[in-house]
Point group: C2
Chain length 623, copies 2
């Protein structure tokens, strides 16, 4: 698949954008006109720079408001087009995007439109230019890709074809199957963008909320499957703009973009595999490469089987040790060569890393996931452009395959075991006795705060590299704004990751109003809480008003309610089961949660989240 | 008018919210249930705190999903309601908001709903509570205020009335005239919120985009006019939540909120005045106070006649002096008692203030506006809670009435004169000769960057205190994101203020990518540019590609195009006229623009803004 990206997707100057595209490994780019008009680089300099960077200049765009106009306007439009054709020749470019008219069309007549597009194609032919005509979702008369293609068919000129843009097609809910009927020679270009499903006017949706494939909810693999089946072999190019990308680091966005195309390529191949038509099956029998477009494959991974460990880091780790001890974790000793400690409770393993920078507050540093094959999983992640994290190891020590998540959390791909144990634990506490624990506990979920610039990127990262499934997102009120909460989990819930997008902080206040946490699941939360209480654990203190409201909502047994209140436990119930949980006080930016899932309760106690946020806000504010 | 605000409008803890409401001067508040549930304050403590702060506790809210349910659910709902009634008695509150059912209603039958609401009213009566039933815009079966009122009429119980919420009514485009037919005794509460007109699902619109009255596009004065004519005399309370307020400083938001109600009160009175019905006219003749609700009035001002001056400030003012001199401004000398200089060009007056903090870069510090009466204008602004700015004056010097705009720009209300001169200029350059200038120039517009937290507040500030009219906003692409641009102007265009909301910057980069500027209008821009060029002015350098594109779009005379290109002039044209302009290089965060308006061109060269942003970005990035 030939990969491309429009310069409008990226922030910065044209030069910065082109360099970032080359670094990320794109085959070609679309030149967004405004980027050229505002650039001090001459067309010839742009051409040379692209050649030096190994970037194809695949599409000049956009040319607006051409068709369906009065003769006067047509004349001016042809003059304007010819100026652009001449410019393209200086750039060494041969394809221009012409969008269906939004602003100046006054005549709704396909014959007239065809005749005007024919004149344009003829002029383009004189300059060696191919015109890719695209139906904008909000085009005045032409807003449907099949309509645009009908016009191309009527004109029947070698220099006129169509451009298919997934956003303009899927935002309008047009059926994508008819793409297969389009003559592949007439598809001059394909643009892809994803988006969250929003119910709003399509122009604002397009302008503010497009995201890279895999970061939204469009059925892009299916769209691409139809495009591939049509026989298209040209560039598949990203045209994505939203309020975040344009403000983000250009090189990083380019890598995120490239990752989305690599992932889309794999997903498209999978879609084709599982949606093979009879005809396609025959073709498959005849040849391994079923379609003209070659779709690269990635190393295959299953979803992780569980958390292998979680790692917290601090300069002074005393508070962390105290909290874990009070929760009932056992100290399993220090590592034989590194300044790290291991604490366990059943199969829940927490590493305390003492190698933090001076004065660094406690924070979540790393997560280990159980995978079938760490090497294959790492190869996949690296092909998806995940940065590699190196860990020093001594002889005989387990080599962890590590990658860096968008928020800089280190992700380690570990060899899972059928019984949930981890082979590397023997590297800790040499000479210490390790009595078998009788407590059954696991890491239930981990909640990571995401910087706003990298939230969508993180969703794609965990989807593509770790095979986690994004769930519908929720918004939780906190005293300082709505917290967007995105659950990523495996189908059986054995790995649950919650990505929280904290509200932007006021620059003038230093208050940190959001933290991260690790939650452990136990079989008997009340007993766990009682023991922790005895050991002196500082619980997050839940207001009395909460228990009154809880009673009004759930009509609980008075004795049970009294226990909840006494131990600062939170409670939730739904049709599937019950959920009990409590939180510790926060140290640095970390706190811990203990949960008990009863029945098939599958959530996270979302109705209680505002209480947690408010109490944490209040205690930070008082301190 | 009794003013109120829901605690959900504000950030922070319940205690912080209540204190801020008292400081801003609200008569009462609505307690948002979650704020109480998450608070460590007991109901009795909240009651005492409200009494101490002089705040009425006017509404407990919301009670959700009551009506149209199965008998089982009804029983649980009544139990839940009774718990809340008891809680309200501890709070000393007598009115509760009950929203039409969204989630649990399964039976669409008005008779059943009425019977269930009747049971609720009966129970409420036992506890001395009044139920205000409100139709949510997205209620499952009841989403129209007239429908909600019909149910209230059917039940006909003294403890059941309705709540009118402007958002739920205007977002659905319901006709507001029928409000007048509602029995005033049955209107238990009125909530107001404004919003920009967006085409999106009403729940997301409500949750993220509500703004205070005067900051959006709803016809709130008309809504309130009908409410007043209905005979309602209770609280008018703000229920506004969006992504900005909840993250902003609580006291400041409360003041912004209060300003919006004061302004709404005046606008409602105006609406009633100009929409007097025959019946109302008779009533007016009979009595000065026409309606039971008393609407306070504000000192009246007309829109300003022009800019009196603009002031820039710096520690080292040499660069500013150089720029103004090169542009053709005359140095009119220093002030006789202060460290400020006056520079003029025709009626365009720029004060350079040298009293800046050490190392302070050049920045726009103040704007003077010509008003009919500075004292009346200042009184109005102060009643609208604008902070006062004091300036030291010596005997015989003009006393400026100053207020502080939301972005901290100082706004001075100056005595205008018919010929556009300013009396205070004689305080400058004593002993210097002041040859009459033959150049005709005025301040055309000023462009101020707004912090994102104060953008909506700024719109209301300039609307209410300075009588400027907000125009539809535009979004301008820049290399680091979309810049939201909001023009505020007088009806004749003699004062034009452009408020720009710069994209949030990446925390990790220190690059400043957005600046403010002052634009001056002259009669002959080409001549002005030539003279400035001769004086060595550093123009913002416009890329050659821009002129090629300009020619493609406008087919300009080759000689004219060559002049534009030679002098780095920008050009725009629309049906009304032509616009020529150029920019200087930036010093600190300020640059200057020179413009020439030909014909009736009324814009700001918006198509050229991306060029300016890109070139400024590029030059900052290179330096």
């Amino acid at each position: 698949m030939r990969t491309g990206i429009a310069t409008v997707c990226l922030s910065g100057t044209l030069k910065e954008k082109m360099q970032a595209c080359a670094i990320a490994g794109f085959d070609g780019i679309e030149i967004f006109e405004q980027d050229l008009v505002t650039s001090p680089l001459s067309p010839e300099e742009v051409r040379k720079m692209a050649a030096d960077l190994g970037l194809g200049l695949d599409l000049y765009q956009p040319f607006r408001d051409f068709d369906g106009v009065t003769p006067d306007l047509l004349k001016a439009n042809l003059r304007r087009a010819e100026a652009k054709f001449k410019l393209m020749s200086r750039l060494g470019m041969d394809t221009i995007l012409v969008c269906s008219n939004v602003a100046t069309a006054t005549i709704d007549d396909d014959e007239l439109r065809a005749s005007q597009l024919g004149e344009l194609a003829e002029l383009a032919g004189d300059h060696g230019v191919k015109v890719a005509y695209e139906a904008l979702a909000w085009g005045k008369y032409v807003n449907d890709y099949e309509h645009a293609y009908r016009l191309v068919e009527i004109v029947d000129h070698p220099n006129l074809g169509t451009c298919l843009d997934s956003f303009h097609i899927l935002s309008r809910d047009w059926d994508t199957a008819p793409i297969e009927k389009i003559n592949a020679d007439k598809i001059f270009f394909v643009q892809v963008a994803d988006a969250p499903k929003l119910s709003m006017d399509v122009l604002s949706w397009s302008r503010h909320y497009r995201v890279f494939p895999g970061e939204g909810q469009f059925e892009l693999a299916k769209f691409m499957g139809h495009v591939v089946r049509a026989g298209y072999t040209g560039p598949v190019s990203l045209e994505v703009f939203n309020d975040v990308f344009r403000q983000s680091d250009v090189e990083r966005t380019a890598v995120d973009a490239m990752r989305s195309l690599i992932w889309l390529e794999e997903q498209s191949a999978k879609w084709l595999e599982s949606n093979a038509t009879a005809a396609a099956s025959e073709q498959k029998a005849a040849s391994r490469r079923r379609y003209p477009m070659e779709l690269a494959t990635l190393p295959k991974v299953n979803e992780p089987a569980g958390f292998n460990f979680a790692e917290v880091k601090a300069d002074d780790t005393a508070q962390l040790e105290k909290l874990l001890g009070q929760l009932g974790f056992e100290f399993e000793g220090r590592h034989r060569t590194k300044d790290v400690q291991l604490w366990t409770m059943g199969q829940a393993r927490v590493i305390i890393n003492e190698q933090a920078a001076q004065h660094a507050e406690p924070a979540i540093a790393a997560l280990g996931f159980d995978v079938d094959s760490p090497v294959i999983a790492s190869a996949r992640a690296q092909q998806l452009k995940a940065p590699v994290v190196a860990r020093k190891v001594q002889a005989d020590e387990e080599v962890f395959q590590g990658i860096s998540a968008p928020d800089s959390t280190e992700i380690f791909l570990c060899q899972g075991s059928p019984d949930g144990t981890a082979a590397w634990t023997h590297e800790f506490g040499e000479g210490l006795e390790h009595p078998g624990s009788d407590v059954s506990a696991v890491i239930d979920h981990v909640n990571l705060a995401q910087p706003w610039q990298h939230f969508d990127e993180a969703v794609l990262f965990y989807t593509s590299a770790l095979a986690l499934e994004p769930q519908p997102f929720a918004e939780v009120p906190s005293p300082s704004g709505l917290v967007r909460s995105q659950v990523m989990e495996t189908s059986d819930g054995s790995v649950r990751l919650v990505l929280n997008l904290a509200p932007a902080q006021q620059a003038q206040t230093a208050r940190k109003t959001y933290q991260e946490h690790i939650a452990f699941a136990v079989d008997d939360l009340v007993a766990t809480a009682r023991s922790a209480h005895t050991r002196g654990l500082e619980f997050l203190e839940i207001p009395a008003n909460y228990y009154e409201d809880l009673d009004a909502r759930f009509e609980l047994e008075p004795e049970f309610l009294a226990t909840l209140k006494e131990l600062n436990l939170l409670y939730d119930r739904d049709a599937n089961g019950e959920f009990l949980h409590f939180y510790t006080a926060t140290v640095g930016s970390v706190f811990f949660e203990m949960v008990e899932r009863r029945g098939n309760y599958d959530g996270y106690g979302a109705p209680n989240a505002p209480v947690r946020h408010a109490v944490q806000y209040d205690s930070l504010h008082r301190s």
